[in-house]
Amino acid sequence: MNKNPLTRLLRFLFFAVVVRGVILVVMGLTVRNRQRLPDDGPAVLAGNHNSNLDALAIMSLMPLRLLPKLRPVAAMDYFYTSSFRGWFANNIVGIIPVKRGSGKEGGNPLQLAEEALDRGEILVIFPEGTRGEPETLQAFKKGIGHLARARPKVPIIPVFMHGLGKTLPRGSMLFVPFNCIVSVGEKLYGKESYDAFVAELEGSMTALAEQERLPVWE
């Protein structure tokens, strides 16, 4: 991430004023089990993905003093479509880019993410990979399992969100405010078998979803 103090100030103002204004005041979050959030890095916050606002909502849960350490993991092909989008993603949102499909070519697509954890940063990651059908959980990809196995001492915290896919679903530019529910799960640690870890994380996310009485959205 950029070390330029002006860019860092812009990032701080963007999150402190714009993001918190939209997420906490215009929209509103009902947070369950806030005490389960980590006090410091390294940590991974793993959320379900319904909306472009998801990463911003998870980042708003954390105190502003941790903002310099907060990094959403995002696909390169989505953000690097124009030079402004790329600059904004890198310097203001502060993403850690992942090249989709690069694992098949023999590289480690999550190398930058592992390095960030070694620096004590807090990653925001969406194991479903893509946003997909609004407000429905999809099968998790394996990436999170690999990351957890590579850094088994780093806690991984499941975060279930409902309502953001109603506020700003995939394919829509129109923002319609809804209160959103954010439920934080117990932290998990990586295992020898990445499949087993992914299954455990999915189970935890489904359990969080089942605890909520969610209104019909059909």
Binding site: G28, T30, P134, K166, L174, P177, F178, R213, P215, V216
Partner: protein, 315 residues
């Protein structure tokens, strides 16, 4: 009427009284917490600190000036409508239309701010009521149409139309209330409605035996209802002559209207929560729940008191 920094003097005294009461309550809760540490009084502590935030925001905005007060009241309507729309079942096809529901808020509060009673009183019950279902029909989805029309119309009436009576009272009450102006009337209404909630809760905790509506809200008892309304009537008779043009007898009657209407608003929102299977309408106010849990009584008390007062005391 005497003014202190542009605010009617009696309003300043009553506000000071509210803060004194809040301070006493805070000390009592702190002592209880100190005597019995643990979870027993934790909820009460959260509730009290939320009261500080709510009373602080309300008094600051309402006493600052009329425009700030109206924007603040409109924001409460916004929070209430948003909470309501997030709780009810909705259809994806109506997502964009819900923006129009939100747009009704600035318009409705604009009518109130410009003291345009004719438009204020028909905008939601006539124009929004007719316009919304027609727009939904034009979009062509008929599955669950009736449910969507019913829930959205009722939500608009409750959170926008009913609550906006507070703003209308503030603006239009200036002339008929030489004692303490529109702000005096608004303070009278909100103070009594909220005090009534607390009084019903306290009497219910102390003496509550016989349920009023066991199916809807097991916490509501006849003892709480009668004790609460009686206390509200007493407070109304005491402060009414200083905040409104009513004498103590009329003030007591107004207190009864606010107390009973407040109770009805409370059980109506309770019935909605029961139907949806949720305990609280949201998590905005720690210890209380959501904003609808706090303004539920005002959704009934505001229109009831406004029209009671308008009928008997407007020129």
């Amino acid at each position: 009427m005497t003014l202190i920094h542009g605010i009617p003097a009696n309003v300043v005294y009553v506000t000071a009284g509210i803060y004194a009461l809040l301070l006493i309550a805070t000390v009592i809760v702190a002592l209880l917490r100190w005597r019995h540490p643990g979870e027993r009084y934790a909820e009460l502590t959260r509730r009290t600190s939320s009261w500080w935030w709510m009373i602080g925001a309300f008094t600051l905005c309402v006493l600052f000036n009329q425009t700030v007060a109206i924007v603040f009241l409109a924001f409460i309507s916004y929070l209430a409508l948003k909470e309501y729309l997030s709780l009810i079942p909705t259809r994806r096809i109506d997502r964009e239309l819900l923006l129009f529901a939100y747009l009704a808020i600035p318009l409705q509060y604009y009518w109130a701010a410009s003291d345009w009673y004719g438009m204020f009183i028909v905008f939601v019950p006539v124009w929004m009521f007719l316009f919304f279902p027609a727009l939904m029909a034009l979009r062509g989805e008929t599955q669950n149409f009736l449910r969507a029309v019913g829930t959205i119309s009722w939500g608009l009436m409750l959170t926008v139309f009913a609550l906006s009576h507070m703003a209308m009272l503030l603006v239009s009450g200036e002339v008929p209330n030489p004692v303490a102006g529109g702000v005096g009337l608004l303070l009278f209404l909100v103070l009594l409605a909220q005090f009534n909630d607390v009084a019903q809760y306290c009497w219910g905790k102390l003496l509550g035996r016989h349920n009023v509506t066991p199916q809807v809200s097991p916490n509501k008892t006849w003892e709480g209802l009668i004790g609460g309304v009686a206390t509200t009537v007493l407070l109304a008779a005491l402060i009414g002559p200083y905040l409104t043009p009513m004498d103590w007898l009329w003030s007591a009657l107004a207190g009864a209207v606010i107390g009973v209407a407040g109770f009805l608003g409370d059980i109506t929102i309770s019935a909605v929560k029961r139907d949806l299977g949720v305990k609280d309408t949201g998590g905005l106010l720690p210890g209380h729940g959501g904003i609808l849990d706090r303004v539920d009584s005002l959704t009934y008390a505001a229109p009831a008191f406004f029209h009671f007062f308008r009928y008997f005391f407007y020129p």
